[in-house]
Amino acid sequence: MTFSFRRRFWVGRDSAEPSNKSCRGSRWLPRDDSVVPYRSFALPIVFLFAAILSLNADPVVIGSKKFTESYVLGEIAKRTLSDSGIPAEHREGMGGTIILWQALRTQQIDAYPEYTGTIAEEILKDRSSTSAETMRTALAKFGVGMTKPLGFNNTYALVMRREEAQKLNVRTISDLKRHPELQLGLTHEFLDRQDGWRPLAGRYQLNPQNVIGIDHALGYAALKKGSIDVKDAYSTDAKIAENHLVALEDDLKFFPRYDAVFLFRLSLPTSTIAALRKLEGTLDETRMIRLNAKAERTKNYARAASSYFENSATSTITESFTHKLVRWTLRHLELAGFSLLLSVIVGVPLGILASRGGAVGQVILGGTGVVQTIPSLALLALLVPLPFFGISARTAIAALFLYGLLPIVRNTASGLQDIAQPIRDSAIALGLKPVARLRKVYLPIASRSILAGIKTSAVINVGTATLAALIGAGGLGEPILSGLNLNDHATILQGAIPAALLALLVQWLFDLLDRILIPKGLRL
């Protein structure tokens, strides 16, 4: 996955020179009428991040959903391809079905593990096309192919604490009818699926009093603690045995088969497809449960995946922690840095326009303010379906860019507005033209305020960039997300601590930059 808009981006910056065409009408008034990028701010940042942006080959990109089994299958596919000499990259835990399917269709990923039931229900939205052949034909229309089943059926199941199930004498899903007082905590995906909660409740005529939506990994903790009594799970989930849970029998045969397969782009080289297909029929349920259990126990997907290959002679190459940390951090800086740079390039001129007040100023400040009120997750979700964005670093950068705008725009505008009238009068009376006034007098005087805005944006960006992992854009959010998924605090901290340190470092760097960029006369 190349990050092609970088190059366009640099060109764009050069051509963003200002025009002062708009300053004719108001020579008499002490106003700033033109837009000048504040180069002395932008340049050091450009150089700072230029160095970071040099990592790129063109590997096969495997995606995975945000749960253990998907991570493990993703790792297995990556290893299989690598062992066949095909460079592969695994983008872990990118999200749910819709996100992965969109990513595959828009060529942002090349393959990902999926289940036949999900393909029929969620992707093709056609319950009748359950035979492998009809599915293949339907998928081919999207340029997508499907492997044969990997060998296990991971269907949905409703699970309960074993003790409580025995106490209440609940063995099948039908038995739940007798206990409407039980608390159900279901994943958001299951709540909305065509083969999920609503049709299930209809079929079994369930009418529980309490149904809440909860994250899959957190749901296990809630079930264990007793905050909920029933949750949805995957039948091969290692947590079922681990947490002494029991899967209720689907006595009405409601859930379709969920045979694990790989979906892949038909445009992939035949050698790549052939390598993927080596996985067909190699994983039965017991083996998959064991791999899942190992992943959860060792907190290491790659190691769990490698036990799949234990019979083969190739040694396991797991990425060292230092290497991973460097990769996450560089990616994090890339996301935060690029978005910040964009925010500065767009935000400062917008701030200059906004400083003139009037309707334009209000629209600018209002608009950037509104963006700030959209929750970051929602903003990511809104951007993902758009053609240019999708599941990519681009989307994360765009979202972070929008978040970074407000502090810069507002501080630039207020910094300029706060310049005292006698200073404006003097600048005008000297005979400086509007552009020169802005460059030689107003912007330097407002520099402290502008830099403070940029600093705020930078710190916010470093923090918010952890969310980029949600859409597979990587960064220090990656370990945080896997840690949340595994309910493993150590892994969470592997991302959280560096992210916090990075924010402090950025703060310190900007304090240093203040001393270089803010004119001495303003610091006395």
């Binding site: 020579r27 002490p30 003097s426 005979g431 400086l432 005087i445 520099s447």
Partner: protein, 247 residues
Amino acid sequence: MNALIQLVDVAKRYADTPALHSTNLSIERGTTTVLIGPSGCGKSTLLRLIIGLVEPDSGTIDFDGSPMTHDKIDVLRRRIGYVIQEGGLFPHLTARANILLMARHIGERDDETQSRLSELCALTRFPENLLGRYPVELSGGQRQRVSLMRALMLSPELLLLDEPLGALDPLVRAALQKDLKEIFARLQQTALLVTHDLAEAAYFGDEIVLMNEGRIVQQGSIVDLREKPASDFVCEFINAQLQLVSS
């Protein structure tokens, strides 16, 4: 003798309040004219109209025989020096950079600007070794001297001073008054000075223009104003200030 500045029927209102009623005024070359009057009488507005900080609602302002228009205003401003009460120095620039800003901007040669700067320091009695200081590092009187140098740097034909000594303590003020008068005389500078202090007006002004409520009430020498007051207001204004001095 043709006037350097000629205002014909110039009027200005702010929202619903007239700041200046239709006014005629001419400033002769080489003279010092003082605008005096109570707060809000329109004297500062008149000055701001001449430098183009405020646009007249009606009437014309001629500078050196040609009308001041939008397209010429920035160039004409370079022929006019402007000093305000608090100096209006740019805080991010040293005294030197403040003074040289415009000369450098229009590309004057360095050696020329340097010798001009030394001349101005001598003229305004400003120690050259303080030129590297920033405005916050200078005293109020020093700041006004820098502001004056900045205004004089391009040898302007007209110098506008809006209460230039208003914010200074009495001793500094007296010293600067004396220096200013000498400078005007030595440069044969055409100057238009705004003050609300009659003694200062009398000290500087060849011609005193007394204003009230947006109109010129009387124009002449201090003797004219005292001996032949044009209205009760002139008497009142002069007596009030004399009483202040004698009490």
